[in-house]
Symmetry: C2
């Protein structure tokens, strides 16, 4: 698909049919994810791919509160046959920049103007969201509640250095209502762009 059409068609899909997603499509999502940029080419990221029914069920069981208030969201989202969890690894960045060509041997985090471990992993996530559109599928990026991250780590054996920045559902779109947040409207260029100075 033309790049500009992919950008314009992308939206968060929160309801899915139970149709499967072919393995090759999952592979193409991941192949694009690792084409994302990363500071110092640190590539401090990992992707947990859950595409077996049982693993997807384990994901939702681990990350859902005991009494969720968002049951209709959950129902639509948990039908997605694939969940991919992008994880960031800050220590990989601190180590990379302690190497001789960068020389930040103190591993001091105040040297970093922004958390590039999370930003780069987010860029990889966006490449997967866009690729899903290019493949005629839908996807949604969403946060894992902080008080469930421990349980998620335990369930999937995630090492301490890796932190999930969220999770992505992938599947065939079914009709959904659209997020209530969309009522806020998109902020126009006149609001967010400053030219030459603030």
């Amino acid at each position: 698909m033309e790049f500009r059409h992919v950008v314009r068609r992308r939206r968060m899909v929160r309801n899915y049919t139970s149709d499967p997603v072919p393995d090759e499509v999952v592979d193409r999502l991941l192949a694009h994810a690792i084409r994302g940029p990363s500071a110092g080419f640190s590539q401090g990221w990992a992707f947990l791919v859950l595409d077996a029914d049982e693993d997807v069920r384990r994901f939702w069981a681990a990350t859902t509160p005991d009494e969720p208030t968002y049951t209709s969201w959950l129902e639509g989202m948990s039908r997605a046959p694939v969940v991919i969890v992008p994880l960031s690894n800050k220590s990989a960045y601190l180590e990379r920049y302690a190497e001789p060509d960068k020389g930040w041997t103190d591993r001091d985090e105040s040297r970093w103007p922004a958390p590039y471990w999370d930003i780069d992993t987010g860029m990889a996530a966006l490449l997967m969201l866009l690729t899903a559109v290019d493949e005629g599928l839908g996807a949604c990026f969403f946060g894992i509640p902080p008080d469930r991250i421990g349980r998620f780590r335990e369930e999937f054996g995630v090492p301490r250095e890796f932190t999930p920045i969220g999770a992505i559902t992938v599947g065939h779109p079914a009709p959904d209502r659209g997020s209530p947040s969309l009522k806020r409207g998109r902020r126009g260029l006149d609001e967010v762009v400053h030219r030459g100075s603030w």
Copy 2:
């Protein structure tokens, strides 16, 4: 251009010709940036666009150390006729999620599993990097040294709530050497993908 070609052709361009970038192209970069996703549709971002020679000079003067060790990088980068600075606004997210439909009225940051203000602004930045490729141009995303951010803010009148997550040069690519970081090689899918469990 086909989406997959844009993804595969994207790379950081660190040397530019002095050819100008048409205004319409800058507008298309920005139009795509604001199509990026954002948690709760918060859109807590801003874009400082510097496309007049004098403004670009002010940017480099404000953000470069007094005795830079990376002069050849600077020479190539500072020829780019356009610099766009994406800025994140954490307070816009805390305010958005204090609204009735989200209800996090305490504005407690520990509710956030990841810094979505920076991640979303990073996604908007990636959309500009990709759009530059789609337009036949080159771009580079790079950090502003933390000890120069104060001076940058002052120079361009940036309000306290906004933090630059980096800056993007845009222009016509000239031959460059490629980052020494590339010698590290891309980490393959076998290294970064975990299926079903770690």
